[in-house]
């Protein structure tokens, strides 16, 4: 009996030769414990070394191997072939991002948006190392812990139709991280982040499709973070109307 095989359709784009991206079909050995990334690696090692794709950790931590698998944004290291076999697996670069080459996308825009929300603890005054640990209770940690799980894999950006319709939208992961630091008891940077988060391109470009939270491989809930930021920003706005508001 012949070894079982699986067909992988991969969207290729070689800027030096391809005017538009084209699908190329590869036949790979089927292994029930292989993930899509294993199949891509098999292609690169044994069939076609010109195929380009990103990966690093192979354990759903680094966030670099995100691709569209049968139309759904997924980490290729976290998606088993057995969930598709004997059907075909169609692999494309993440939606809503320009294609650099094959499955590699241009992530510069996301990186800029991420940096714009200052995703780090901002303290009111510089804390010298000699001040020791900046303590926080487990209960305080729990109020934002899920948002710390974000690995910047950009699957939520590929899932969000608003990213495609309004490309200036800051987007789910960056806004979830802004919320994460705003909720951090050690942080005093909310006002700085609100300049971006509470702007039109911030939370107000979100129409609560909710797809970001559905595709997140780390169970972060960016949709929730954004809606909570909308409510807090609205409260700010009303407070500013009051004579004793600032």
């Amino acid at each position: 009996m012949s070894e079982p095989v699986l067909e992988l359709e991969v969207l290729r784009y070689r800027p030096e030769t391809d005017q538009d991206p084209v699908f190329q079909t590869y036949t790979v050995p089927y292994n029930s414990d292989w993930v899509v990334l294993d199949a891509l690696t098999h292609i690169k090692d044994n069939i076609d070394r010109t195929l380009s794709f990103r990966w690093s950790c192979h354990m759903a931590v680094c966030g670099s191997c995100g691709v569209m698998i049968n139309g759904e944004p997924k980490l290729s290291c976290h998606t088993f072939l057995r969930d598709y076999y004997p059907g075909k697996v169609r692999v494309e670069p993440l939606t809503n991002f320009p294609i650099e080459r094959d499955l590699v996308t241009v992530a510069d825009d996301f990186m800029e948006k991420l940096a714009s929300v200052k995703p780090y603890v901002i303290t009111e005054e510089d804390r010298p190392v000699s001040a020791g640990e900046h303590l926080q209770s487990p209960a305080d940690l729990n109020s934002f812990k899920q948002y710390t799980m974000c690995i910047n894999c950009m699957l939520c950006y590929a899932a969000c139709p608003q990213m495609g319709l309004t490309p200036d939208f800051v987007g789910p992961a960056a806004l979830a991280l802004a919320h994460r630091y705003n909720l951090d008891t050690r942080d005093a940077g909310r006002e700085e982040r609100q300049e971006i988060a509470a702007s039109n391109e911030g939370v107000w470009d979100c129409t609560f499709v909710g797809a970001c939270s559905q595709v997140c491989p780390k169970a972060v809930d960016p949709a929730a973070a954004i809606q909570q930021t909308k409510i807090a920003s609205t409260v700010d706005w009303y407070k500013a109307l009051l004579p004793w508001g600032k």
């Binding site: 650099e100 139709p161 939270s213 929730a224 809606q227 909308k230």
Partner: protein
């Protein structure tokens, strides 16, 4: 320095039919569409209030107009969309309004159930007031 390759990033256009291919996007668009029916129903109520302000004859004509088959069909349709609107948005409330009591997070289902309870109480009160 090595050879610098020409970059030519390829931007894919978003097809107009983006919301038709996937269930979650279609579901979202239907939820967005419900607002048109909610809006139209609100207009009917406003017209009713306006006719009421014009006196009993005007209001009577308005109520008569509501008995027509078109008005009944519209109201049934608006009811279906209003229910879809309500159920889907109630389902999302725990995301927008998570509740913490002390160190515990209130389960999302409790927040959803509370919304249904308030909806029921408000509706029942309105019906009682209307009958009185």
């Amino acid at each position: 320095m090595g050879e610098v390759m020409d970059r030519r990033p390829y931007v894919r256009e978003m097809p107009k039919s983006w919301w038709l291919g996937q269930r979650r996007y279609t579901f979202y668009m239907v939820r967005e569409l419900t607002c048109l029916f909610i809006g139209a129903y609100a207009l009917v109520i406003l017209v009713g209030l306006f006719r009421l302000s014009q006196g009993p004859v005007a209001y009577g004509a308005f109520v008569d107009a509501l008995q027509g088959p078109f008005a009944i069909a519209f109201h049934l349709l608006a009811l279906v969309f209003a229910l879809f609107h309500t159920v889907t948005w109630f389902g999302l409330t725990p995301k927008a309004m998570p509740l913490r009591l002390g160190e515990k997070t209130v389960p999302g289902t409790a927040i959803i159930v509370a919304h249904y309870a308030v909806w029921f109480v408000v509706s029942a009160t309105l019906l009682l007031v209307a009958r009185a």
